[in-house]
Symmetry: C2
Subunit: 876 residues, 2 copies
């Protein structure tokens, strides 16, 4: 089997085999772009190597040798001999772009002898700069000798010789090399002098880097499979560091933060490779190149257009200019902010490049969530103290406590604190700390620096290159305008404007994104599933309607009992020892609820609103601390001991499996009757005032047909009486049930006979199906994830094999006895895009989620319909 | 539709329509036995009456009239006219015998005028005795005027006239009648003088009595459907109270306590109707009749044989002798003790009357449970103080506290106390108190008294007619040989010998019932399901093997950690803060467990033993009271505050859904490894000593395939190492999993790939499926049962529609990927006869239950196979 493809043998469709980078290098070669010659070792070769316990097959060695010979022929240079020296880069390249995650070695092929010849052919400072870089990268990637150790040596010589490395003499350069070698020796490592040994060792190291820790973290974060492997690209070097007419840079064909159709990039003159991305020197903007190297700039403009037109998407292009000649080293679909992604997609639709459906599939639900990311409350912004301004590298707004290392970020995050990672620059080692941070701030690096790229990918807000900040990582302080902040100080970061505030600021949600509205309207047209909201307070209900909810899928009534006055009446009711106190409390709660429902129904209007009757066990409303009990005793004119005794009587060993839901409605019918009375009295009043309303009453925790019949009949009697007393023409209403117990799923055909609608409560259903208490899984879930026993939290993403199977069974059974009933999902996973395809397949009518997840869910529903995602049929 | 059948129109197959009593009266009439003429009003007529809100249809009235005319013709007497007076009895008779539960009225047709004529035709004392009884029964049954009020009146006259009622003069008799009438008046009721009105009213009352409270309790207790209704038998009276040559009695064709083939019965001379059953006068044994009325006796012997041969079963026959002539009033299959049922069935097989299979179906699993009822420990009996001796009315042995009323029995039972009901005599009103009592003692009444019959039916031990006891229900005391006991005093009752002890005695289980062995061996031959035991201590394991378990289905290992020394080490392990303490504790627990398993495996031998690894959450092993914590702190040399803190950290909101089962085995693999090491080290030792062993390791609470793989692989490594180190030829063993979570059921096909066996844990599965915590359902389950929402406790009898459906699904899926795997049921319902048919149908291989339920389960398995019970197919 062919394990190596030269760039002129492949194309962009071969990403599985050649990785993204290799496939695009091949595609560009085929397009006739100036790509330095090279070849790609396949991902298959990588996986074979890893699966054979890192055994490098003889056949692969031979194929590499042949490819090197061919490269020598193509370039007219020699890798093995000493004249007309061919150096190569060795770079990883997986199917999915993983920026900074994998390893790169440049200038490979140099050794003590060849560097002298190379110095003669070019200049000593350039040749030794290359050699030094090779040794450093090789040491780092292959042997794990940290970059910092090499940097320290170099800095020492800079101090001793009192000049920058590019001005070092030959002798001085050789001293650096000597010191680098001593570093290798000290670590008992050998820098190989044989170019072929360098090459094979580097290839192995790239292969192995597929499994390094930061690669694993990134894959976990982005759900990238572990068995893809990485390809290895071996490419003849061109040198951006070969003098003043050389440069290296990165540019996007559009602005990756806003989507604006304007070249957006940066370059460093006389620099090599990763200098731009690593953010070590702050680069110049791409338009400066026009003055400096006008021919190369003009060529770049042309090639950038060719590439964007060819790929029909914004491109992220790496280039190098060697003595005035432009080379393209890489292109890929550029990472972008959610807003940019949206704007670009709509622009491309508008200019006819892509269709609306294509545009829909280019935006992820996560991006939509970012688009409604919080911004700082404009009211607070006016008076907030500005600390500094930097580059608006990734939009969003967040407050938190300063931390200076990834480790501290993780530690404080685990303690439940909100942290903001502040660093000179970030590196791939920081990835875990970045994941848990609310925001990222760097004092160095540009819009394409590591921090900026990763933050945009994660949707975390980021201000980069904020040079006003003096970050001292040793003393763990940041100084700005003479003021010093330490770990734990609170700041607020606005990634959209690049502003950092010295205060904790309130955030609000933006709601008027016209482009987003356009996209979501397209999504709604495609969607088979509707989206409702889980909301009960007026603010959330309004937001839900604004975000395009087709109704309310879950309004929880118990939340209304927690206000100060209400909780007292609720407690009076629970602790009542005679009929009078019970009825007094009940009447007062009725008054409260009536007022609540009036405003809720008024807000939601003619759209349906599912109102769930009281669900939690009674003891959840009672106090536990002696002081509150004392106070309550006074308020209720009871003995504290009596209250303590009653609380003890209500105690449950497993409250989740206890006296709650419809079980309460059956043992004490008056509470549900009060709630329904409150709902319908309000609804009747609103109807009389000319409003339309559509209440849907949901009975929770039904396990058995007779429970449903009992509660439903009791409620219907109450409703009938209210209508009769009112002389209002009865408006349409429904009575349905929550399906949240395995038994309800298995007997759904029976339940469906008595229910106008079903709504799956996936939270409780997941708890019962797994036997997991959400309150207690913290003790083993982290270990389960670590061991790969659970790859996803089943409370966030539907467990299709277990809970999903129960849902499929229930829908099928329900449709047997009640074919047209409305069936929804109102648990946490209702708003999860990964689960939405499954619900569509299962035959559900709508999903319901928190108001702020509605836009993402609408998109996901549109996409699910477009993909018509085939769910692996799990046989019953 | 025909609503009335005369006795010569029906037969014994018509029990649905005519009730058991009516069908048998018809059958006996057809056989030519001397049955007084009469007719039966059908159960259909009863249900129609009840469903039409007690409306007595005109058509039924007309049919009754016609039947009465025909009866007048048949008997040559007149019901309506005053000469040659025809009196009738009106008696209920449902399909299933419900002794004492329904109502009877005798002597119907008498009134003020006719009684005088009747007195002329017979004797005044006899005629008025009949009239008085009629008024009393009529008042009681129709108007609910209590018998006691009539009795008080009668007793007053007895005192005033200083003689027994049968010696009252005509005038005196009339005074009694007058007083009775005043009692009616006082209650604003009217005793009708019109015989037809009496008849119709009585028929209605019998119809209505189908729904009286004690009938409902009885039906609930015996699972008799509520929609059967009762028939009404109207029969011409014959008089056992018409003089010295008259008598009434009840006899069994065999001894209902032992099964001995010998007439067993009692009679009262010159008495009527319910006198014998009610136990008011202590009757004479049937053999005394031989001297008194030899012709009638000899006739009875003949008829008894005819009836037993005809019905192929022991008969319970009611008879009346009127002036020396024998009449048979009723026959039915006699209620009997379990031992008698068994002995009779085997006798009937031995003499060729019935087949082995018929015999198997005649014994209920409940009877088998009674056969292994406890007896008092013979060692204690020698020194126990005997209080009194009475009739051995229902076998068994029990200790408890004396109560004197059914109400107190219920109250104390609800407080968790064991009670023994002590009464002069019991009546149907006492039924609820009898149900909750450990034993029943009466000072009056014989072997066929209400107390005796009901106790035998329920399998409750009973000593009847213990005349040494003077029970004073007013003062709530019982006096015996000068000593007085009050409520709460402890006694022990041996229903097999009739002895009452004044002490609390230990009970033991009998094991050597040869007849039972025979029957169960027949059952095993028929059975499709095997029976295993849930047992872990040596005593229970031995008992299980003796009772014929085919293996151990569930040995719980956590029970072994609760001994004083063990719990300390377990606590040391849980609270260990360093590796050393953990390992020390683990090693000590290993030593304990090794010893445990050695003896367990030795006891069970070559039969398979399923050993479940540690299941409960760790906090269950920790103390909660401050004193024990203090003590533990000293033992472990830790600060009490530290222990309190650790306990708090281990606290769980819903322990049932928490960190337990295989979740423990995954987060801390060493505990399961220790257990498996203990099991296999012991097993290897036993193998070396020449024993056969077959351990089956069961992993609890598996929800996900990868959990099973993870734990299984870890255990297999440990086992492999032990075998390698031992040089023993590996013996067969299995590793399987408990199926006790809905997710395990829904993914059983995946789990089955990695499991050698499955065992359904129906307790937890029921908890999760319903979302019921067994610890907490007490708060609503009683109300659910009262409202008929749940008719059975799903933890006692399998919920077929929900939990059962999950089990069916799981078995089907499991067999898809692992067709030959062994599948068992080890939860509480595993031993429930009602559930066993379902498990057979579902394709389960064995059920497992506590050792003492094994015999009953073996029978149930045999019966299930014979019945090949069709389970209503619940569509998926």
């Amino acid at each position: 089997m062919k394990q190596i493809y030269h760039f002129n043998e492949g194309n962009t469709t071969m990403k599985d085999l050649l990785g993204g980078k290799g496939a695009n290098l091949a595609e560009m070669t085929q397009l006739g772009l100036p790509v330095p010659a090279g070849f790609t070792i396949t991902t298959t070769a990588c996986m074979q190597f890893l699966q054979q316990d890192d055994y490098f097959e003889q056949s692969l060695k031979e194929e590499v040798l042949k490819a090197i010979y061919r490269l020598e022929t193509e370039t007219g240079k020699s890798f093995l001999a000493d004249s007309s020296i061919l150096l190569v880069s060795v770079r990883s390249g997986a199917k999915f772009s993983m920026p900074g995650m994998m390893d790169t070695i440049l200038n490979l092929g140099l050794n003590d002898k060849k560097v002298r010849d190379f110095a003669r052919l070019t200049t000593p400072s350039f040749a030794y700069d290359c050699y030094r870089r090779l040794m450093q990268m090789f040491g780092d990637v292959v042997y794990g000798i940290s970059k910092e150790q090499f940097d320290q040596i170099l800095q020492k010589f800079e101090t001793t010789f009192d000049k920058a490395p590019s001005y070092f003499s030959l002798a001085e350069q050789q001293e650096v090399i000597k010191a680098y070698k001593q570093l290798f020796d000290k670590q008992h490592k050998n820098f190989p002098q044989d170019p072929l040994e360098q090459l094979f060792t580097a290839i192995k190291a790239v292969f192995q880097s597929w499994n390094n820790e930061r690669a694993q973290v990134y894959r976990n974060l982005h759900d990238i499979p572990f068995d893809l492997g990485t390809a290895v690209n071996v490419q003849s070097m061109v040198f951006g560091n070969s003098g003043e007419k050389s440069a290296t840079g990165v540019a996007f064909t559009r602005n990756p933060a806003t989507g604006e159709k304007k070249l957006f990039g940066e370059f460093l003159p006389n620099a090599q490779g990763e200098d731009v991305v690593a953010g070590i020197r702050t680069p110049q903007t791409i338009d400066k190149l026009k003055q400096l190297l006008p021919v190369a700039y003009s060529d770049f403009i042309d090639y950038a257009k060719i590439l964007e037109d060819h790929y029909k998407d914004m491109q992220d292009i790496e280039f190098t200019i060697e003595n005035g000649k432009l080379y393209i080293l890489q292109t890929r679909s550029g990472k972008r902010t959610a807003q940019a992604a949206l704007n670009i997609a709509l622009d491309l639709v508008d200019d006819g490049t892509i269709t609306k459906k294509e545009a829909l599939l280019r935006i992820t639900p996560t991006m939509v969530e970012q688009l409604i990311h919080p911004i700082f409350d404009p009211a607070e912004l006016k008076s907030a103290k500005v600390l500094a301004k930097g580059l608006p590298a990734s939009p969003g707004a967040a407050s938190g406590q300063i931390v200076f290392t990834a480790e501290r970020a993780k530690e404080l995050h685990e303690e439940g604190k909100k942290v903001i990672l502040v660093r000179q620059e970030t590196s791939p080692e920081d990835i875990e700390g970045m994941v848990v941070s609310e925001a990222i701030v760097t004092s160095r690096g540009g819009m394409t620096s590591h921090a900026a790229v990763v933050a945009r990918g994660m949707g975390t807000c980021c201000v980069a290159g904020c040079e006003e900040l003096i970050v001292n990582e040793t003393t763990q302080t940041v100084t700005c305008k003479g003021q010093t902040l330490i770990e734990g100080s609170t700041i607020s970061v606005d990634g959209t404007t690049g502003t950092i505030y010295q205060a904790e600021l309130k955030t609000v949600r933006p709601t008027d994104n016209q482009n987003l509205q356009r996209l979501l309207n397209w999504a709604d047209k495609e969607a088979k599933l509707m989206v409702r909201a889980n909301a009960e307070n007026i603010q959330d209900l309004s937001a839900a309607i604004n975000f395009g909810a087709s109704g309310i899928g879950l309004a929880r009534t118990e939340h209304m009992f927690f206000g100060e006055k209400r909780i007292l009446e609720m407690r009076r009711l629970i602790l009542a020892e005679d009929e009078t106190s019970f009825e007094v409390a009940l009447q007062r709660l009725l008054d409260f609820q009536q007022d609540d429902f009036y405003h809720m129904l008024q807000t939601v209007g003619e759209k349906p609103m599912v109102i769930r009757l009281l669900d939690p066990p009674m003891h959840e409303f009672l106090p536990t601390d002696p002081q509150t009990i004392q106070q309550l005793a006074k308020q209720l004119e009871k003995a504290p001991e009596q209250i303590t005794k009653q609380i003890a009587q209500l105690h449950e060993t497993n409250p989740m499996l206890g006296h709650r839901g419809c079980r309460l409605g059956i043992t004490e019918a008056r509470i549900y009757q009060m709630q329904v009375k409150a709902i319908f009295t309000s609804a009747i009043k609103l109807t009389q005032a000319g409003y339309s309303v559509k209440p849907e009453i949901m009975i929770p925790l039904v396990a058995e047909e007779k429970e449903l019949i009992e509660v439903k009949n009791s409620l219907l009697r109450t409703i009938k009486n209210l209508f009769e007393a009112s002389n209002v023409e009865p408006f349409p209403f429904e009575i349905g049930t929550m399906i949240e117990l395995p038994r309800a799923c298995m007997t759904a055909d029976r339940l469906a006979k008595h229910a106008d609608f079903f709504s799956f409560g996936t939270n409780d259903l997941t708890q019962m199906t797994y036997g997991f208490s959400r309150d207690d899984i913290g003790k083993f879930l982290p270990i389960y994830k670590e061991k790969g026993i659970l790859t996803q939290d089943p409370f966030q993403t539907l467990d299709q094999a277990g809970v999903g199977k129960l849902i499929q069974t229930a829908v099928k059974k329900a449709r047997q006895t009640n074919p047209n009933m409305m069936i929804g999902v109102c648990g946490e996973v209702g708003g999860d895009p990964n689960s939405i395809s499954f619900f569509q397949q299962a035959g559900v009518d709508y999903v319901s989620c928190s108001a702020y997840r509605i836009p993402a869910a609408r998109l996901a529903c549109g996409q699910a319909a477009l993909n018509d995602c085939r769910i692996a049929e799990i046989a019953l």
